[in-house]
Amino acid sequence: MSEPLLVVKGLTKRFMTGGGWFARPRSMTAVRSVNLTVGRGEVVGVVGESGCGKSTLARLILRLIEPTEGDITLGGTRLSGIGQAELRRERRRMAMVFQDPYSSLDPRYTIAETLAEPFRVHGLPVTQQAISGMLEAVSLPASAALRYPHQMSGGQRQRIGIARALALRPEFVVLDEPTASLDVSIQAQIIELLAALREGFGLTYLFISHDLGLVRYFCDRIVVMYLGAVVEVLPDARAVPRHPYTRALMDSSFAPDPKARREIAPLSGEIPSPFNLPPGCAFAGRCSRAVEACRSASPPLTEEGGHAVACFNPL
């Protein structure tokens, strides 16, 4: 791995909910002691199902949500612990692309105004040429500048979202399911574009997705999350999963090839409530390989040659 750009240590987020006149507040741990390192120029994928905490993790890293515990360091600057004013200056170095290209653009502003926003926020001058250049970088015609978001398709809007994120030439970009709201045909276009931009601008990506197939295609390393915790880190896209949950995820994604058709041993049981986690491994209740130890103690994430897994009985 190259020189580390992002180092995350023991990141934890507990949400308190409920808590009214008659209800006692309940706490839910959305993200639990996550350690993560992303090297400069790397694409790291974070994959998991809804409710696994991957989107919360993304927002914690950019401090769009304040972490309960843990340290975040980006390129030598400790992000956790700096004040709001300093944090806002640091935001030039990081950016985020959001899942929903429909609500991520303010309907009242033209594309040109939307793309000028990052500059305006930091009091920087912005020119017509700069806007045209940004549009060109995401393969949109300069004439798009005068349009409103509702006049554009989902794929075009997501290109605008990407152009806005890259406006101030950040080093680090979080991509939060950037293609999940788009047609598959458009998804591939956006992935191609992201790959080209990474090359062109020397970017580092954290790619959040529910689609293991897509993550394995696009990412250098893959972090698998289940119920707020990292259960496995695959050192490369081809690595064979050792955690039963990763295996189940992989079996559940269908290749576009009828010959690869298979009988799936479906996961039994339901995802436990994050308010009321069972002791031991959170996956034990659905796991066919669970042993006695899994139900009483949490398996630690242990690394071997870059491949880390949190399981007492790995594959």
């Binding site: 806002r88 935001r91 990081m94 991520s104 009242r108 926003e117 930091h122 409103y148 989902g154």
Partner: protein, 293 residues
């Protein structure tokens, strides 16, 4: 089939919305009437040969005639003239007080909705409290404190409608706050002022302005009511409310003195409501307005 078509008509701007509102029959009639009233109020001195305070006692209690199309009052003053000047008072007092109310209500509501916490709870509690009293009661209490007259009336109306705008703005801001473009602005390093003034308030504006338009109609009634009780604009300044008040004693002797100002209030308020409805339809924001009738 659910995806919207990639290219559709441009977002209607201010003029487009007005044109759409005037495009409906009810909107056109109501809007036309309002324009007429406003023009009449502005150009009152040019439209009538009389002065609103010129007493000609020998011409008192004249029924409508060619010389005095709406008749004269107990002091022989031309009623049409007083109606036109009265429109100045009614319209300006009600719209200026609603403007003050909207400005203050939006500020409070936006701050409460955006920052939340203790401030929000305080604003919500006070707004709920004032909302549980009829507007007229609040207005009467305030006039009693400040004293009768135009400024007292304006303050009373402004405070009476404050809660409505604060609550509506707060609800709007709370919904808009969750939009991804707000989070996107934060991720770019935007501060509170940028988010509030560039994203939240512009998007919350349309429903608040329409509701302000409708409230202006209510404010005209409130102003007339205060005038009727003698708490509004003081004589000899004419207002529709005080004209009705002086006419009420003469209901059987000279009914035109109370009927014409009453008709003016009624038609203006109905026109404002109809035009407000047309605006709501043109802006397509029916679902965003609260349920307060």
């Amino acid at each position: 089939m659910t995806a919207p078509s990639p290219v559709s008509s441009a977002l209607p701007g201010g003029l487009g919305v007005l044109r759409a509102a005037f495009g409906r029959p009810s909107g056109a009639i109501a809007g036309g009437w309002l324009v007429l009233i406003v023009l009449g109020a502005i150009f009152a001195p040019l439209l009538t040969p009389y002065a609103y305070d010129a007493q000609v006692l020998k011409e008192a209690f004249q029924p409508p005639s060619l010389a005095h199309p709406l008749g004269t009052d107990e002091f022989g003053r031309d009623l049409l003239t007083r109606m036109l000047y009265g429109a100045r008072t009614s319209l300006s007092v009600s719209s200026v007080s609603i403007l003050i109310s909207v400005a203050a209500g939006m500020t409070l509501g936006a701050a409460a909705g955006y920052f939340g916490g203790f401030f929000d709870r305080a604003v919500t509690a006070v707004a709920d409290l004032t909302w549980s009293f009829p507007e007229i009661l609040i207005a009467l209490i305030l006039v009693a404190i400040i004293g009768p007259g135009v400024s007292g009336t304006m303050a009373a109306i402004a405070v009476a409608y404050l809660a409505q705008f604060a609550r509506l703005t707060r609800a709007q801001i709370m919904t808009l706050k969750a939009e991804t473009y707000v989070e996107a602005a934060r991720s770019l390093g935007a501060g509170h002022a940028h988010i509030l003034f560039r994203h939240l308030i512009p998007n919350a504006l349309a429903p608040v302005l329409v509701s302000a338009m409708l409230a202006t109609g209510d404010a005209i009634i409130l102003e007339a009511t205060l005038g009727f009780f003698g708490l509004g604009a003081q004589p000899p300044t004419p207002s529709w409310g005080s004209m009705m008040s002086s006419g009420s004693a003469l209901l059987f002797k000279a009914p035109w003195i109370i009927v014409f100002p009453g008709l003016a209030v009624a038609t203006t308020v109905i026109a404002i409501n109809l035009f407000g409805d047309a605006l709501i339809a043109a802006l397509d924001i029916r679902d965003k307005l609260g349920s307060k009738p």
